[in-house]
Point group: C3
């Protein structure tokens, strides 16, 4: 069955994709007709996940469908990660992201050893990241790393023989966040996976943030380009004159997606279908908030069906009063991240053979 035919009925904006709780889009939206292609997912076996650039559209799609299967069923109870140890090494402390990864591991019966912060005593401060990578070889089966330094991942991989997930490297990338972002968008609007989409069904995507220096929006933008058939236009709202940098700008131009740069959300918000907000600019060693031209609240002039994404944690750029509205796709996004990470762990460690029989109807072996 070709992707073009997949869930053809689900891409109209006037449909309600939310589940019976009204809180989250129904993950079965992504499972309706097309089987999960294990052959594509197995491309991840033994691989590290460093950048959104590693993914093509069909791989993103299979990860999202597999995550949807994990979210919709009790597959985790078959304990697919039994006997595996994941090392969560958060040299840059992050409670939210660390707990998301650890919850994903534990739900699948894997085990965790953790470095919850980069604070430590004398010795460790001077130890090289490549030595730390060598150490990990002896202690676990997969490593999740967050670090303040953009170059940390390549250094840690010099001696590492385990697969690694980059959970945020300085002003670099945060690719599993981008997968969680698109998992939320595709549950909300599965029609975006098609290759041929009518202009009226394409989305206008707004990004509040600076992709050139903010890792979450950087990875999100790179992955969004894969879905260019579903995107009418991208509007980047940033306080920077050049929020992209030459490489990203070039990439975006070659994609054929129309895009514009503005410094005020009010200039575009009433036309946006998806608004990606991220107030957090990591600037070497501290964070900086954006000012009031970059904030959303319940009075913002949003389209009735527009949805808002935010990688969280949020400060005041996103008003909690939006939480109770259908604009709120950010809680869906945060919850779904656990299942995306579960999908990656099973694929990277090739534990597909541990999936229970009830998963089989959804999988092409």
């Amino acid at each position: 069955m070709v992707i073009e035919q997949f869930k053809a009925s689900a891409n109209m904006l006037d449909e309600d994709p939310f589940d019976s709780t009204g809180l989250h889009p129904d993950p079965t939206n992504l499972l309706a007709q097309e089987h999960i292609d294990l052959g594509i997912l197995k491309r991840l076996t033994g691989q590290s996940i460093i950048s959104a650039d590693q993914f093509d559209k069909e791989l993103v799609l299979e990860i999202c469908k597999f995550a949807a299967l994990l979210e919709a069923t009790e597959i985790a109870s078959s304990r697919p990660l039994t006997g595996k140890i994941v090392i969560t090494a958060f040299f840059e402390a992050s409670t939210r992201t660390r707990l998301s990864f650890e919850s994903a591991v534990l739900r699948l019966d894997g085990k965790i050893i953790s470095i919850p912060t980069g604070q430590s005593t004398g010795v460790a401060k001077g130890e090289s990241l490549s030595d730390i990578g060598e150490m990990f070889n002896a202690y676990g089966d997969l490593v999740v790393v967050r670090h303040t330094d953009t170059h940390s991942i390549e250094e840690i991989m010099q001696n590492l023989r385990l697969p690694l997930i980059n959970a945020g490297n300085g002003s670099g990338e945060h690719p599993t966040q981008a997968l969680a972002d698109w998992f939320a968008i595709l549950k909300w609007k599965p029609g975006l996976i098609k290759e041929h989409i009518k202009p009226r069904d394409q989305i206008h995507l707004g990004i509040l943030g600076t992709p050139g220096s903010m890792r979450a929006v950087n990875s999100f933008l790179r992955m969004s380009i894969l879905f260019q058939s579903g995107i009418r236009k991208i509007s980047i709202v940033s306080e920077m004159a050049d929020p992209l940098g030459p490489e990203l700008a070039d990439r975006l131009e070659k994609s054929g997606i129309a895009f514009e740069i503005t410094n005020d959300i009010h200039a575009v918000q009433s036309d946006l279908d998806v608004i990606y907000v991220n107030s957090i600019a990591f600037l070497g060693d501290h964070y900086e908030s954006l000012n009031s031209r970059f904030k959303l609240n319940k009075e913002s002039d949003l389209k009735p069906d527009a949805v808002v994404l935010h990688p969280l944690a949020r400060l005041d750029e996103l008003d909690p009063l939006l939480d109770e509205t259908h604009h709120n796709l950010y809680f869906t996004q945060a919850h779904g991240a656990v299942f995306v990470r579960q999908a990656l762990f099973i694929a990277m460690l090739n534990r597909f053979d541990r999936l229970p029989k009830k998963a089989f109807p959804f999988i092409n072996h």
Copy 2:
């Protein structure tokens, strides 16, 4: 069988309630005749535990009997929490209490994700507690929270859909500590559960501390009022002129228990049967020790059968030379806390169906 008849022979002060090691009262003291009433314990299913005020006497009693069953048998080996994740969120760091909860979870085969301190980087510092509560929904099945701020628990519960245990909120409450306190007292003197107790078998209870501003003694005093039939008098030893505040004072007066306030332990110690010591006054953002008029040591003029409670950690207000005496009920209290917390986890998560057959003779289904 009515509670009045329960373990009728166990409430004489001249009996030795200690087990064969001589270290701890025998938990089977609490299991001798009366079955555990699951109907009462199931009132906890899906509930949060915020304050000692939530408990009535029969609920405290069933929790203590169930904790005694867990202490006396190998029920934990039936793995009643398999597949459940408990989040231990200690925004106020506390090694002792965190480890007590975590040990309780792991002994029952549950899993842990942990926030061991409130220290974290930029983003998290500005994140609201209600957002953190929302995050927890996606990551676990039950949350244990300690925080320096008295209002933290209500904020975190705004978006939380999981059951929560308040493990200490600022100068507020610490209800599971109070349950552990009474578990120790009832193992030592099971006769105190009766409704009609002769004056000579009632206890004189001394409290060194300030219930109005110290969470452990606050919760302990609130729970003690439930056992008013067994209490002849309460003496509160505090450096504060008004250690109770109007609400607690009113509560105590309505209970009908005689009480007095003094500022020197020497004025009352020779008449006390149970002495609750807590040197630690949490004053906004730091701790303050009490002075020498509030200290116990081996030279203190205690009744031969008097027992001492202390929620620990202790500083110099409680002399380690008392450890080797039968006055020491505080180690029993600390050890028993693990079983009280196990009982709460099983009840809150309704995992009674995982109990092994050997537990059945002690349970009314």
Copy 3:
């Protein structure tokens, strides 16, 4: 079969003891002929491991053979620590050592509760170590402790009824590191276990460091004395005039091993067979690096078959360019530490009955 006959063919320097990957000596070198003697290993049941002085040669040997069995086989999958909780209490933070112990526990299906740093709030700072030891009794089955204070271990053991492993106490000892050191050496050169060794097969052992004040080299030197039949000479390279102190100097003299003290590695390096490097001098509350006379790099004039040990983490005293050479035994040493610790856990908790049948051919019951 007597030890003298064990693996007689393995002690020639011109043999290549490395496994097929070329990275590590083959652990089956240690398993070839002699069965593991459980009677000797069971001397560890319920015991604490405080000092290298507790070990005799045959106990070190059986631990190393058992570790080799764990490294060479899939015995961990029989889950020998199911139901056991190990408390890793790193009052002195150490990511590397903590993760090594935790990985060892988790691979055997034990569980972990952890104190990752000594930082904590008010109360705990004043709590005595003996009270902390008492607390551990209620929470776990075995305790691993690291602390900046040399006297910490004896204080924590005052009330502790669980077996304990000293994972480094101030300037005291680090006995499991010494076991890991000798596990690496014996895998590399199993002939060193013999009682009678020809002079040409004995090793010249160099130690860069100050045994009298550095815990890792202290424990290593104490354990090395047990293998005096295989050691031609020990050269200690230290910036201190008296790097041993009277007790260690006396011990070394009584052993009959020739030894010398120098302050420049260049004076001895071309004759050394094993070089133990440790740049880290713990001086009360901080670390100090040694200067350039105590550094190894690829230009160092080493014997072709010489091997280098280092307890890691390293700073600049050991050049990473040595990593790719056969001089590098320090990665073997670090990896093997996990199996040594697994062997200790199984022995101390007497879980030999959980070993799988495939282990039986290697064991004398």
